[in-house]
Symmetry: C3
Subunit: 173 residues, 3 copies
């Protein structure tokens, strides 16, 4: 019996070692990227200048009816806000992959502004935005950690719970 468990552990370890791309690591952790989002107003979802990629403020991808809405601290718990931030991260990764073809072209996350639709009394913005940042660590390791601000907004478009914008550094071509 032990022999079989040992073999399975070895196989899992080998699989992890082989999971070399961010896409592999996301897949191994059970994540699936959504379809990239389309602009809903007069903007673009990203702009590349030099080796920096600027990402628009992203909400969750998907139909507006399915997106987490409401104020964290009143309509939503911290855990629900964090789950939304993770979905925002998946949506942003879909945009990055759409731009670059391969996520491995990301050198590192440089800066994120994590905006929480929050009450005046809310204080746990970092825990909410960790939902996004922990996902980026799954994909990119330590390079997924950005200079960051995680703050409370009076209101967000369509009353979405979380919106995050980012600057990502790319590997030289």
């Amino acid at each position: 019996m032990y022999r079989y468990i040992h073999a399975i552990v070895l196989l899992l370890a080998a699989a992890t070692a082989l999971a070399e791309t961010p896409e592999d690591r996301l897949d191994a952790a059970g994540y699936t990227l959504p379809e990239p989002t389309k602009p809903v107003a007069v903007y673009v979802t990203r702009v590349r200048t030099g080796n920096l990629l600027f990402l628009s403020g992203h909400g969750e991808c998907g139909a507006l009816d399915d997106i987490t809405k409401g104020k964290v601290g009143r309509d939503l718990t911290v855990a629900e806000g964090k789950a939304s931030a993770e979905k925002v991260g998946l949506c942003m990764l879909a945009t990055i992959k759409d731009e670059l073809g391969e996520l491995s072209r990301v050198k590192r996350f440089v800066r994120i502004l994590g905006m929480v639709n929050a009450t005046e009394e809310f204080t746990a913005h970092p825990q909410v935005i960790n939902g996004f940042s922990e996902l980026m660590v799954v994909a990119f390791g330590e390079d997924g950690k950005a200079a960051r601000a995680a703050v409370g907004m009076a209101s967000l478009p369509s009353n979405i719970a979380v919106e995050i914008e980012a600057i990502v550094e790319l590997h030289d071509d």
Copy 2:
């Protein structure tokens, strides 16, 4: 009669084709740039580093008494907020022209943060900030579209309705 209309249409098309600079296009659309704004505190209205120009958070140019004030969604309609965002855009263009001499030195808008003085329940931030973005499309075409966030602030300086900061990429010298 048709002959005259046809001639006028041809003349207008020719005028548009000749309107090659952003200044010409703004002028043809009936816009006039205000005097550039002066800092009202310890900052500068823009900083250039490499081929990126960072613009301070801009409100409307002009005397404080004449600037649109109040919360969008309570004191101001979406249309009034959008009109303010357009004036903010004119004010920022005045700063950019003051820095560069010619707006044609702008390669593209990279990123804007559109901050709406909004109620907790407000949801139409993108429509408000479109007032700014549509102006930039008049001036720069598709290059006027930035990576963007359009969000609701608890309060803004002097209770102005809209404040927008930006990063613009410049053509190489």
Copy 3:
């Protein structure tokens, strides 16, 4: 008597002329840098890319119990908010020095986002954030003035009064 005063004035002027580094100027003005802050969530306090240094949203350094908390305009006066912004500046300078070794490697402040934990009616955000900006002028002169936005947030982490993020340009190596 006049002779002695004259001598003291000359000595002070000489001391100022010798105070060539930002560290010297801060010291001469009576400021002491705190220990650099540690990340309290999944982020890093700064990221360098090219000759730009991106600083995370900084609050005051120190134990959470000692940090200024509350809403400016309700729990705190403008002067108290401004004093907090100055401490945020000292905390950010500690991070910059930790990264660069010497503050003289800073070429200039490029952009800051000054976030005030403010009521809906608050209007004096620039005066609050001047506490940060005036400190940077002490350290770096005119190069301490950034493109800036100073705005009101619905809420900030742990109910801190002021949070500021920044982009700083570095001298070439």
